[in-house]
């Protein structure tokens, strides 16, 4: 049974559909990457999976159970973590408090998970008493991912985790994504930097106009000349 | 007009059933009051309702047209009332024949001089004084000059109070006071509007609430100007008074004046509402971001509408004070002069002038009738309580009136929840 299974998902805001039938399947140890041109519905798809968008047709299953249109806090309880692209930290809370909020539903785990997150992101340990709003963009992204990991999710949704970061930080974050995945967390992420992201992807989904255009392994998509020509800038 | 606008063309003409039914109900209620309480009482009620309708129109353009919430209608009403009093009552020779006017004028001159000096001090940095030093100088100067001026003032006003009572009026026609009252209220509105411009409307609510209490405190404690709690009466009427032509006719004449005022205001507002200016105001209310993106000067429009609303409140307050023929600063209460008007607007239909007038008249009838009704119910309850052997509290009358406070509050919350657009909603047309 796949970890996450989206079947023919339609949805949008205020009667206007942005998603017109998207399919994706993620296994437990997969990194899935969604790429595509602006306005293709990449972030919208991620929001639909996390219950922030009304799905009016189709199904989203988590380990076989339908989860579409459940409120986000129930999805967190069922093992899903979400890292938004912007406003993804609590600026006036310290780094440690940010992370604690991630484990809000599992307060018993805080100590153990804090150690684990500090293991993934050593800079956060040093800055644990600093308000998250004072950190640099890359460190803030680490706080955001760490916060989502604190709930011990089975699947982590990342919305453009490298947006606005310098190339150095971008590689760093993608490395961490691989490590987190290796530790047994399924990943579904949206990325602008398609080449770098597809390079670490087990599954790649190229969306256009709210529908799947290409679906394959990351490596195969990178090798496909048509994908390269239309979506990866040659 | 040669170019018909889209919003007037596309609106389907329909028989205004709702309006007719609601106004018929109000008419029946008015006739009922006339039948039960007599024509003098009924006409008084109508005049007061008309004055309130002017206040309500002022609030409806602020809240209904522009989404600005004024929680201090009372203050603007009181300003209007003060001007109506000050300009119309007879001149006080005990004041004018003494040397006090000169001293008061001198005190005012001191005040202007002090303001100019402080203002000049804030510009010292232009001539090379460091900014920090300039601020220190300006603040110190302001404190010292303030103390000097306030002491001169206390001196003069104290003498006025002891020797002449108060400065009296100007003995001018009543209409002058009404116009100046509107202007003064508009001026204060401009000051408040400027400060809260561009901030969230919560701040406007807080600031207006504050200025209303301050205006009341000023009018109440400035015995030299308003006789304070001693109140000023009688105020002259713009029409022959009850002493000359009898209660009913005099009040009817007064009512015709207020009715004409409402008609004029209504006509002008309706024109403005459909003019490009009105559409711009509504566009700003409905979607501030896109209105700003279209290059509309949001803050200027907002200030205009806020000041306009305050002017209407000042005029309405002046008409109300003249009619009651007494200026009593303590009689201005948030309940009677802010929240009652608020209920009229949100119940009638914010942004809909006709609905607002309906709301004003309907709510005022309920309001004026609720006092005897509350007392009646209280008496019943007390009789019942006495029969059961309870000892009833003594000040039942004043407590019964508190029930009205509760009812007004309940009405506000219920309307917001169940009829947020009022009984006669604004007809929103989609405009480009």
């Amino acid at each position: 049974m796949p970890l996450l299974d989206a079947r023919d998902v339609h949805g949008g805001y205020g009667g206007m559909n942005i998603l017109n039938g998207v399919n994706m399947t993620i296994e437990a140890d997969d990194i899935g990457v969604i790429v595509g041109p602006n306005g293709a519905g990449k972030s919208t798809m991620l929001k639909a999976v996390f219950g922030l968008l009304f799905v009016n047709q189709g199904q989203i299953l988590l380990r076989g159970e339908p989860i579409h249109n459940l409120p986000p806090n129930q999805l967190v309880e069922r093992g899903m973590g979400f890292v938004p692209q912007e406003n993804n930290v609590f600026p006036s809370l310290t780094v440690k408090e940010n992370l604690e909020m991630g484990a809000y539903l599992k307060p018993g785990n805080v100590k153990r998970m804090l150690d684990k997150v500090y293991g993934f992101f050593p800079p956060l340990f040093e800055k644990r008493h600093q308000p998250a709003g004072e950190l640099s963009g890359g460190q803030r992204q680490m706080v955001a991912m760490g916060r989502a990991l604190m709930a011990e999710p089975d699947v982590l949704l990342l919305d453009e985790p490298t947006a606005g970061l310098s190339p150095l930080y971008m590689n760093e974050i993608l490395e961490r994504v691989k490590e987190i995945n290796a530790a047994g967390v399924g990943i579904l992420m949206v990325e602008q930097n398609a080449k770098q992201a597809l390079a670490i992807a087990d599954k790649g989904f190229v969306l256009a106009a709210g529908q799947n255009r290409f679906t394959d392994t990351g490596a195969a998509l990178l090798a496909d000349p048509e994908v390269a020509k239309s979506f990866l800038g040659g | 007009m040669e170019t018909k606008r889209a919003d007037t063309v596309t609106a389907p003409r329909r028989f205004p059933m709702r309006e007719v039914v609601l106004f018929a109900a109000v008419l029946v209620a008015v006739l009922g009051v006339y039948a039960v309480m007599g024509s003098a009482y009924g006409t008084r009620m109508l005049v007061e309702a008309a004055c309130y309708a002017i206040l309500a129109l002022g609030l409806t353009i602020q809240w209904g047209y522009a989404g600005q919430f004024n929680a201090g209608v009372m203050g603007f009403v009181a300003l209007g009332g003060f001007c109506a009093m000050f300009f119309s009552i007879p001149v006080n020779p005990a004041f004018w024949d003494s040397e006090l006017p000169g001293e008061l004028g001198l005190a005012l001159l001191y005040m202007i001089g002090a303001v100019l000096l402080v203002f000049g001090a804030t510009r010292l940095d232009r001539v090379g004084v460091p900014k920090v030093l300039r601020t220190v100088i300006a603040v110190l100067l302001a404190v010292v000059l303030y103390l000097v001026v306030i002491n001169v003032f206390r001196d003069v006003t104290g003498q006025i109070e002891s020797r002449a009572g108060f400065i009296g009026g100007l003995g001018l026609p009543v209409g002058v006071g009404w116009v100046v009252g509107g202007a003064l209220a508009g001026g204060v509105g401009y000051f408040i509007g400027r400060i809260c411009l561009g901030l969230r409307s919560d701040y406007l609510a807080i600031a207006t609430l504050g200025i209303a209490e301050i205006i009341k405190a000023f009018l109440k404690n400035s015995d030299w100007l308003t006789r304070g709690t001693a109140t000023v009466s009688p105020l002259p009427w713009p029409v022959p008074g009850p002493g000359e032509v009898g209660f009913t006719l005099a009040r009817a004449l007064y009512f015709s004046i207020t009715a004409v005022m409402i008609a004029v205001i209504f006509f002008l507002l309706t024109r403005a509402y459909h003019a490009p200016w009105g559409r711009m105001i509504r566009a700003i209310r409905d979607n501030e971001v896109s209105a700003a993106a279209m290059g509309k000067d949001i803050n200027k429009r907002r200030l205009e509408i806020f000041v306009l609303g305050c002017i209407l409140m000042g005029i309405g307050g002046a008409a109300l004070a003249s009619f009651n023929s007494i200026f009593d600063p303590q009689g201005y209460l948030p309940l009677n002069h802010t929240f009652l008007v608020l209920v009229m607007v949100i119940l009638g239909g914010p942004g809909n002038n006709l609905g607002t007038i309906f709301g004003a008249v309907a709510v005022y009838i309920i309001w004026i009738m609720s006092a005897p009704m509350a007392l009646f119910l209280m008496d019943m309850a007390m009789a019942l309580g006495a029969g059961l052997g309870w000892d009833t509290p003594t000040n039942m009358d004043s407590r019964a009136l508190q029930a009205r406070v509760f009812v007004i509050g309940l009405l506000i919350t219920l309307v917001l929840r169940f009829a947020p657009k009022g009984l006669l909603p604004e007809k929103v047309k989609h405009h480009g």
Binding site: L52 | G67, R200, E213, I214, A217, R399, I408, I412
Partner: protein
């Protein structure tokens, strides 16, 4: 030196008294704002309600205080806090929650809270009458006179018993609030929701729970603030409109949504008020030999008369809105 003691009595003590009351009141307003994003005008009447509950309970069990050696009103305070908290949660359920569910603009909630404040006012006055009543039903107010060990000082520093309890209560309330917000899981979740409601929800924080917890705390604080006020003077049901302005001014001065800022703002407003109505000519007395005649002749050097006290918070409000609308501690941008 006697003038200095006079200053302490009239400015330091009474400034701290009104500062404490405004601070506790402003914290409530700012908490509501930070979680629900609207200016809660019914807060002052919630304070009155809390004080009224204390008054009721005190007159029902007048002897309860003697068992603990403190005024009965203080013994009854926790119970009154619980009742006010219940009221606050109930008001939210009945009046604010439906409006929020409709997705109305915040200003509509402001108007709703004005409706609620009128209802509370009507109810309280209906039951209590409109006169003032002392919370000290059976107890006598002690007065502490602290003579300063300085030669030549004949005037003692005077603190009344209720003022002493007021300071203790304020400190306890502030420390408890601080511990709650910085240590407890719910307190941190409240701060998180104030920072970023969407992310709080995405972290699994149940926003409805936080809203309810907020109202519980706001109600409790309102009861404390109302009781502090009524202890200092007397219980009066019609104080609310005069309290709203200083409380809002304090919250805005401190930066809207910042509880610690609200505490600071409360003391700023409280001291500004007492300094403004203080008659400074007393302080000039020691220097009477070296000062010009005209300055001493005017007996009144107060900035505003007590009847214009309400001008002070308004002036502060206007000044802060013009120069720094986010408050001294950079509150929410509105």
């Amino acid at each position: 030196m006697n003038e200095l003691v006079f200053f302490i009595n009239n400015v330091l003590v009474s400034g701290s008294v009104s500062g404490s009351i405004y601070a506790i009141g402003a914290v409530g307003v700012t908490l509501v704002f930070s979680i629900m994003r609207f200016a809660h005008f019914a807060h002052a009447d919630m304070m009155t309600f809390g004080a009224f509950m204390v008054l009721l309970l005190t007159s029902v069990f007048p002897g309860a205080g003697a068992a603990f050696g403190v005024p009965t009103a203080l013994v009854m305070l926790p119970l009154a806090m619980a009742l006010t908290a219940l009221l606050a949660v109930g008001i939210d359920r009945a009046f604010y929650k439906p409006l929020r569910a409709h997705g109305v603009k915040p200003i509509v909630l402001v108007i709703g809270s004005l409706g609620v404040t009128l209802m509370l006012q009507g109810l309280i006055r209906l039951f209590s009458g409109t006169g003032g009543q002392s919370l000290y039903v059976d107890d006598r107010k002690e007065i502490f006179r602290l003579a300063l060990p300085i030669e030549g000082v004949r005037v003692p520093v005077v603190i009344t018993e209720p003022q002493f309890y007021l300071f203790v209560l304020t400190i306890v309330a502030v420390v408890a609030l601080h511990l709650f917000l910085s240590r407890s899981r719910l307190g941190k979740a409240m701060r998180a929701m104030s920072d970023n409601p969407d992310l709080a929800q995405a972290s699994g924080i149940n926003t409805n729970t936080i809203v309810a917890v907020t109202w519980v705390i706001v109600g409790g604080l309102a009861a404390i603030a109302g009781t502090l006020l009524s202890l200092d003077v007397t219980f009066k049901p019609d104080l609310s409109f005069f309290l709203l302005l200083p409380i809002f001014a304090a919250a805005i001065v401190g930066g809207v949504g910042r509880p610690y800022g609200a505490i600071a703002g409360g003391f700023v407003v409280g001291f500004a008020e007492t300094l403004a109505v203080f008659n400074w000519s007393v302080m000039l007395r020691p220097f009477r030999d070296s000062l010009p005649e005209w300055l001493l002749q005017s007996g009144n050097l107060a900035f505003v008369g007590t009847e214009y006290k309400i001008v002070v918070p308004f002036f502060i409000l206007v000044a802060i809105l013009i120069w720094r609308p986010t408050g001294i501690f950079k509150g929410k941008v509105i």
